[in-house]
């Protein structure tokens, strides 16, 4: 198992990230550092650039300018291999529940017997043991997202990105996902999660970043950003969010 002390957590840093299109700015992040001990939540209204930032950090989108550094090194294949991502709409392979996990483990070069044990352990963790042989495409929304998280965790990432994983789920399913996220965080995985659910941010976040118009308007300990926001944008968003 991993060393659970916060100091060993891999740091992530974005420097001068910029993405523009048709003269407008979609993303403009001069400097953003994630090195705290707990989950990071990225908040903001639709179109603020949250998902775009997440994809840049994960290397799915190459920014027009700037770079991402992980543990001091620029983002390359070795760094990306230490990351995993869970999408808003889980993309499950057209295989069994177990087959989706097996796909990842096999890629990691595990032998069959080891894979089998690992799959059983993962399924137990996600409460999907009784669905192992079922088609992944027949899972409910909550089960599907749990499987997507399990599959991401099967790669044993240092950093786990989650892009609004609970936006389409009911409270019970959301709770199950949040528990898995917290457990992963407790095991030393750096969590970077996009959400527009302020309640979720209060439940999970150690630190929070507020985005607006492609910029990070505020980033700091969750208690400060969520309770005593400094920026006007954050105040307005939180006020709107509270009404909802």
């Amino acid at each position: 198992m991993r060393d659970l002390s916060a100091e060993t957590r891999i740091g992530l840093e974005a420097l001068g990230l910029r993405i523009g299109r048709n003269g407008g700015t979609l993303l403009d992040v001069p400097r953003l550092v994630f090195d705290g001990p707990g989950p990071t939540l990225i908040l903001g209204p639709n179109g603020a650039g949250k998902s775009l930032l997440l994809r840049c950090l994960h290397g799915l989108i190459k920014p027009d300018a700037g770079q991402v550094r992980q543990d001091g090194a620029p983002l390359g294949p070795a760094q990306k291999a230490r990351q995993a991502m869970v999408f808003q709409q889980p993309v499950l392979l057209r295989r069994s529940v177990a087959g989706n996990l097996d796909f990842v483990l096999r890629r990691r070069g595990m032998v069959r017997a080891t894979r089998k044990d690992r799959i059983a352990a993962l399924l137990a963790e996600g409460g999907l043991s009784d669905k192992a042989r079922q088609s992944a495409r027949s899972l409910s929304g909550g089960e599907a997202q749990r499987l997507a998280i399990l599959r991401a965790l099967a790669t044993e990432p240092d950093i786990l990105f989650l892009d609004e994983p609970t936006s389409a789920l009911d409270p019970a399913a959301t709770l199950a996902i949040e528990r898995m996220v917290l457990r992963a965080s407790a095991q030393g995985v750096r969590i970077v999660m996009v959400s527009h659910d302020i309640g979720q941010a209060r439940r999970l976040a150690a630190d929070a970043a507020m985005m607006q118009g492609g910029r990070v308007v505020e980033h700091g300990p969750a208690s400060e950003v969520l309770e005593t926001p400094k920026s006007e944008a954050a105040r307005r968003y939180l006020a709107g969010g509270l009404i909802l």
């Binding site: 993309v91 295989r95 529940v97």
Partner: protein
């Protein structure tokens, strides 16, 4: 008339040869056409659009033209005449492969391109490169690909223009269902030709039913392979 057909060993030999030739052709077309179509779906290169248009157009190759081209290749005075393949089942398989491969490749390209779009970010997130994703995509699209193969099989088994030229409709050697139907029609034995046509349609229906049953069952069992 059906009674005559039932006990006729010669007729069943013809039906079996038809199946053998067309199944073999579809198998070879699958081995060539599926990776080709999948590669076309995931790769990006200049002129890709043009290649796709070409492959789609080749789906409509006239069998007679294919038959003539394959004849010219395999004829003793043709470039591959020394192989002595003309008027053999192998020649018929070759002609059908030429007919079916574009169908398999074009349909595979369509299916895989749609699936690749859906899987794109997830697979890249897992560190799977475009080209390396081909086997995964082919496997996950297997049900749709079976349908593509079925379309190819339908084309192969029902086709007469190419096989009659390169096979020669030789009794006991290259006589298949469609060429027998053509022969019996030209003999004016319309009833027998119709009966053979009914068998041909029956086979098409049976194969479709089989595939649909298999895919239903696969869906039901969750397509496990872990």
């Amino acid at each position: 008339m059906l009674l005559i057909l039932q006990g006729d060993a010669e007729l069943w030999a013809i039906v079996l040869l038809s199946l053998r030739v067309s199944l073999m052709a579809v198998l070879i077309s699958a081995v060539i056409g599926m990776p080709l179509g999948a590669a076309l779906a995931v790769s990006r290169f200049p002129g890709r659009r043009g290649v796709i248009v070409l492959v789609n157009a080749l789906m409509g190759l006239p069998p007679v033209v294919v038959g003539l081209l394959v004849y010219l290749m395999l004829s003793r005075s043709g470039p591959l005449g020394v192989l002595q393949l003309l008027y053999t089942p192998t020649a018929m398989i070759i002609a059908q492969v030429v007919l079916v491969t574009p169908i398999v490749a074009a349909l595979t390209r369509q299916v895989i391109e749609m699936l690749a779009e859906e899987y794109s970010e997830q697979l890249r997130s897992l560190g799977v490169s475009r080209l390396a994703s081909v086997p995964t995509l082919l496997w996950d699209a297997r049900l749709a690909l079976v349908t593509a193969l079925l379309a190819g099989f339908g084309r192969a088994i029902a086709e007469v223009g190419a096989v009659i030229i390169v096979g020669g409709n030789i009794n006991h050697v290259t006589r298949v269902m469609t060429t027998t139907i053509a022969l019996e029609t030209s003999r004016g034995n319309l009833a027998l030709a119709l009966a053979l046509g009914a068998i041909l349609i029956g086979i098409a229906v049976a194969v479709n039913a089989l595939v649909s049953a298999v895919s239903l069952r696969a869906e039901h069992e969750g397509l496990t392979h872990a």
